[in-house]
Symmetry: C2
Subunit: 348 residues, 2 copies
């Protein structure tokens, strides 16, 4: 089965998707019987390429790596052509749009407009960006349903480590009452280095040097990033709107080395725990530093790794641990979503 | 959507399925749009009940709990009627047969014959029993394919904790090179109690008293149970036949209290690690006691809990932790498989 796809946003994640799809083309065809044909790729800065017969993934990835843009590529479309999403989706007849633009938490743009256009045009959407989902997951899902398509977003939380698809598919039949864990790799790295004796400022500087933390680390260390993910999980798992401002939030700046040492003396660890819970019909969200016992799988999670405990009725607690970020890891989440759409999973 | 199902085997797992399906009927209808209608339940000892309009799950579960059999139930069929599987499946027109008979590792019976009959009659099969899968997974899968149906077996390894469906669905796109972990709760319980100071014999006696270990504990402590699961994982993940005899196997009887103490002094644990790995095109299987570092999530897993590390190309290592046995936990795995069949997942 050939499945036409389009890509919007050719930054780190988009490039990762081109690379991974190129590298795994034969493997995906062999194992899942799905041949993804990339019909277009477009980026606000790098330009647009379009070919009804399918673009060469390896060539595109190489061109981006070499020149940083699509200018001069055989399949290039310039701004004089129509390159808005609605027209690209309509002309290409793709089944799935991959949305991988940088996210804006305040407006959800440009992802919001792009995804709404694609869904309204009858394309399924897979996305790695959090902004639009945090702001209006229900609206996006409704638009998808109304157009007989899906929106999937495994990569928006824990990159390709399966959490959302795990709950949707393999845990189908379970009712979840709580989802909580380590959803921000940067702060877990900093806390891990503090366990190893560094001061907060030293650990943060190291995280910045390694590219884990940004120059302005607020989004991570004050818990905003984790709070957006909690909002997404509340929407997905509990089908409830939980605004980011409603998530009780405390970052890791209040964690003192002596707190970490005191916990260590008891065999425990301090972790920034982000979660959403359903209690008495009400969903609450939180991002709080908390002491975690050594018997809890979350305690074994160090560095930038992410981990979540899923509390269910039928199985008790299920834990899933894996990477929380990365170019290929995020692309994997998009591919998982694309394959699951191709397989025609019923519920969304 | 109404989905007709039949149940073969009304022991602990079968009863669990009746209970759980009864308790979650409305929830499954609401969340997944699937209404499972149990048309028949049959057990070699307890008898057979059949109703085209659907049996009352709560009443059946209560009758089994009270009388231990179906004798005298309104919907009872006696041996004078035809109650072989082929006829039951044919007459009932069910979509899914749930196979939950006790397993025989040497012959795969009675599951093997039951499942082959059902598949050949055009019914999907979900099963919790390991024997037939360990002996001829490829044959069963081929028979399913040839008849346009599926055979699914999430519950055969780690009960309802998602491992097989996790790799099939949410991890789709990843190539797995190794799956290994704690697949036998009984031996992990014994090792945990030995960490806490008990001798092997004391820990075993306690496991027997709690119902975790059988009077003849060979299947668990010598690693047979884990080896069958390794064989199933090799068949599912690597699509390779790996006979139980080919699995390198050493039980926990060689583990000495001083080994455990020595490991503990380094912050490590001794675990019975069962796994299958693909290396240079060859699949090997093993069940061996091994020292596990505290940084490995497997080290945090105590008691009867199970856990697996899945080593992949795209994501590195993904860990999943959850219950490895239990009436409701196993029934949950069957329900997950049933929902996934109902949703029409493409690849099997």
């Amino acid at each position: 089965m050939t499945v036409g796809i389009g890509l919007v946003g050719c930054g780190t994640v988009g490039c990762g998707l081109l690379e991974l799809l190129g590298a795994k083309k034969d493997c995906l065809k062999g194992r899942y019987g799905v041949d993804f044909r990339l019909v277009f790729a477009t980026d606000a800065i790098k330009g647009t390429v379009f070919s009804k017969d399918g673009l060469n993934l390896g060539e595109l990835a190489a061109k981006l790596a070499r020149d940083g843009n699509f200018h001069g590529a055989d399949a290039e479309r310039t701004a004089s052509n129509n390159i808005n999403i609605k027209d690209l989706v309509g002309e290409s007849g793709i089944s799935i749009l991959c949305e991988a633009t940088p996210t804006n938490y305040k407006t959800g743009e440009p992802g919001m407009t792009i995804m709404k256009s694609a869904l309204a045009s009858g394309a399924n959407v897979v996305t790695s960006s959090k902004g639009a989902l945090g702001l209006d997951m229900a609206g996006l899902k409704k638009l998808a349903r109304d157009n007989g398509v899906q929106i999937r977003f495994e990569s928006s939380v824990m990159s390709g480590t399966p959490l959302i698809n795990l709950i949707r598919g393999p845990l189908a039949g379970c009712s979840v009452t709580r989802v909580e864990g380590i959803l921000n790799g940067t702060t877990n790295f900093i806390l891990t280095r503090m366990e190893e004796g560094l001061e907060y400022a030293e650990a943060l500087a190291e995280a910045q040097k390694l590219g884990y933390a940004e120059a302005d680390p607020t989004g991570d260390v004050e818990g905003f990033d984790a709070a957006v993910k909690v909002s997404i999980l509340a929407g997905e798992v509990f089908r409830t709107r939980l605004d980011i401002e409603e998530v009780r939030r405390e970052g890791i700046m209040s964690v003192k080395p002596e707190d970490i040492r005191r916990a260590a003396a008891r065999g425990a660890k301090i972790k920034l725990i982000a979660g959403a819970a359903l209690d008495g019909g009400k969903v609450t969200g939180y991002v709080l530093p908390r002491e975690v016992e050594s018997s809890d799988p979350l305690a074994s999670v160090s560095g930038v790794t992410n981990a979540v405990n899923i509390v269910t009725d039928n199985l008790g607690t299920i834990s899933i641990i894996g990477p929380g970020a990365g170019k290929i890891q995020t692309a994997q989440g998009l591919i998982s979503d694309m394959l699951n759409i191709a397989s025609g999973i019923m519920w969304t």
